[in-house]
């Protein structure tokens, strides 16, 4: 930005404002637009869209923001330039975000948050606050339609240039003023036939009852009392026989198991010189390591890991 070369970058307020200018340009919002003057970075020109679902919808409202010298530790002042029926024009308005109430200001707020708040304040009642108006809805809507035609006239040629530029861009973004339409949707509720379900349930119950009846009849007819008693006695006899045979088998298995007593073995003691023995042990250990290394190497070759081995060594 060539314009930034003019400003005093040593001032913390200027640094903060430049930061906000960059942020505004990199993240533009469809609901508002704001930019500072070239000559004075502490004065911004902005335009906001009327909030949706309100009598201000479709309107383009211009305004001016004056930032203090010790921004962001002090709040800015706001002035509307387009007639809206909610705020007076060319007069500083009293809001919780404006310089009328420095006790409510937060340094974490910015121009962006202020404009969002301003859009949100539009549909609220003025309540007699400084710079507030309470026009009728019809008048406000008429003013909204009128606000799109021409941007307001204010200040010097440079300011007017900025205002006109903002107005053109807002016109390209803004949707037209909507007409009031009332659409009612009738929803039909489909109810399931409860009578059919109840009939099916009754049918199943009836079937079950019939089946149970048939079973009981067959049992009574096929099995008279004397025959059933004789069968029961036979079952008892068979059970006893089986038990006896199992017991006898267990006894046989126990008797046939052979018992082997453990026999202690005496270890053979080899008498040798300690030095000679130690040398032989070391030699054996070395040979074992060599053999293991060779085996591992061969194993890797077989598995095709030659490259890995070469790289590692």
């Amino acid at each position: 930005m060539e314009a930034t070369a003019k400003y005093n970058r040593g001032n913390p307020a200027v640094k903060r404002i430049l930061q906000e200018v960059k942020e505004m340009q990199s993240n533009p919002s469809p609901d508002f637009m704001a930019m500072p003057l070239e000559e004075d970075i502490f004065e911004w020109q902005f335009a906001i869209l009327g909030p949706r679902d309100s009598e201000f919808e479709g309107g383009i409202y211009h305004g001016r923001i004056q930032l203090p010298s010790d921004y962001p530790f002090k709040p800015p002042s706001f002035m509307l330039l387009t007639p809206s029926g909610r705020f007076e024009i060319q007069k500083k308005i009293c809001l919780s975000i404006s310089n009328y109430h420095p006790e409510h200001w937060q340094p974490s707020w910015s121009v962006r948050t202020a404009l969002v708040a301003l859009i949100a304040f539009m549909p609220t009642p003025g309540g007699g606050a400084l710079g507030s108006l309470d026009f009728k809805k019809e008048d406000r809507r008429a003013l909204a339609i009128k606000s799109r035609e021409t941007p307001p006239k204010f200040g010097s040629a440079e300011r007017q240039k900025v205002i006109d530029e903002i107005h053109e861009q807002m016109l390209s973004r803004a949707p037209p003023v909507p007409q009031l339409l009332t659409n009612e949707t009738n929803e039909e509720t489909n109810q399931l036939p409860a009578s059919d379900a109840s009939d099916e349930h009754a049918h199943k119950a009836v079937g079950g009852v019939n089946t149970a009846g048939s079973n009981s009849d067959s049992v009574n007819n096929d099995l008279p009392r004397p025959d059933s008693e004789s069968e029961i006695v036979q079952h008892i006899v068979e059970g006893r026989t089986e038990g006896v045979s199992n017991h006898s088998r267990a006894n046989l298995s126990r008797e046939n198991i052979p018992r082997v007593a453990p026999t202690p073995q005496n270890p053979v003691v080899a008498i040798q010189k300690p030095k000679h023995d130690r040398l032989l042990t070391l030699a054996a250990f070395g040979l074992t390591l060599a053999i293991m290394a060779l085996v591992i190497k061969k194993f890797f070759k077989i598995n095709g890991l030659a490259g890995y081995i070469e790289g590692k060594f």
């Binding site: 001032n11 913390p12 930061q19 906000e20 962001p72 530790f73 974490s108 910015s110 790289g311």
Partner: protein
């Protein structure tokens, strides 16, 4: 392939362990410094509040000293108390 290490240089980097990346007051990055300072680090440290919001030391001191009534946290509007 053999690699022989002849010499090595060590490099260290540090950063602030904060929840955000920028100061809520000056909108500068925490790894940077406040608008009045030139270098980050010990000369321009971060300060945490009891609400766990962090700001540059100079930014929050400027805000706290400019308030006639009880200072509030710029982010959450609770009463500002420096974390011990």
């Amino acid at each position: 392939m053999k690699v022989k290490i002849l010499q090595w240089h060590s490099v260290a980097s540090w950063t602030w362990d904060a929840q955000d990346e920028t100061c809520g007051i000056c909108r500068m990055a925490f790894d940077g410094c406040c608008p009045d300072c030139k270098f980050p680090g010990d000369d321009c440290p971060l300060i945490w509040g009891s609400c766990n919001h962090a700001f540059h030391l100079h930014c929050i001191l400027k805000w706290v000293n400019s308030q006639t009534s009880t200072p509030l946290c710029p982010m959450c509007r609770r009463e500002w108390q420096f974390k011990g």
